[in-house]
């Protein structure tokens, strides 16, 4: 499934013109992104939670050359499926 398929779903199920369906799908993901960039958690009930975590620097190794490199401190997004979705997924 790609973004185009999601736009198609909104077009079919909500009956919006395709261009508007596209615009609102973009806006939804953009809003989620901006919220996470601000450091705020997003919780979609029945789906899951996106959280931003800070990671300190650590030493990594290039698996090919075995060369050691510093992995810079960074922010990462972790996703946890809701209990409901997790249970369904486990059985898939």
């Amino acid at each position: 499934m790609t973004k185009a398929d999601i736009v198609q779903l909104v077009f079919e199920k909500v009956g919006l013109p395709r261009s508007e369906a596209h615009e609102i799908v973009e806006t939804v993901f953009d809003t989620i992104k901006k919220t996470l960039i601000d450091g705020e958690t997003i919780k979609i009930s029945g789906f899951g939670t996106f959280t931003v975590r800070k990671k300190g620097s650590r030493i990594g190794r290039n698996p090919k050359t075995k060369e050691e490199v510093e992995i810079t401190p960074r922010r990462v997004v972790t996703f946890r499926a809701s209990d409901y979705l997790k249970e369904l997924v486990e059985k898939t």
Partner: protein, 97 residues
């Protein structure tokens, strides 16, 4: 931020839509994604990230209280991988660097 707050934010940004409409759209998006995941499909949202199923092997676990061993069957887990532009934005890495 919960789903209802997300609905409000998106409604603020979309002039011609009511909160009710935005709610229906957001529900359609996440229900559609859930259905795709349960069909075993990978989801690719450009600029945001990908969702896919990862197989977890069967393992033997132990009840920490009783020390009793038990078999855990293989199962699927949902995995999210952030998209590169989003990761860069999150870490204020400009595209030209």
């Amino acid at each position: 931020m919960t789903k209802s707050m997300l609905i409000e934010k998106v409604t603020e940004r979309m002039d011609d839509f009511t909160k009710k409409q935005v709610e229906a759209i957001i529900d359609t998006i996440f229900d559609g994604m859930k259905d795709a995941i349960l069909r075993g499909e990978k989801i690719e949202i450009r600029g945001f990230g990908n969702f896919r199923l990862k197989q977890r092997n069967a393992k033997t676990a132990r009840n920490p209280k009783t020390g009793e061993k038990l078999q855990v069957p293989p199962k699927n887990a949902l995995h999210f991988k952030i998209g590169k532009p989003f990761h860069n934005a999150l870490n204020s890495i400009s595209r030209d660097v």
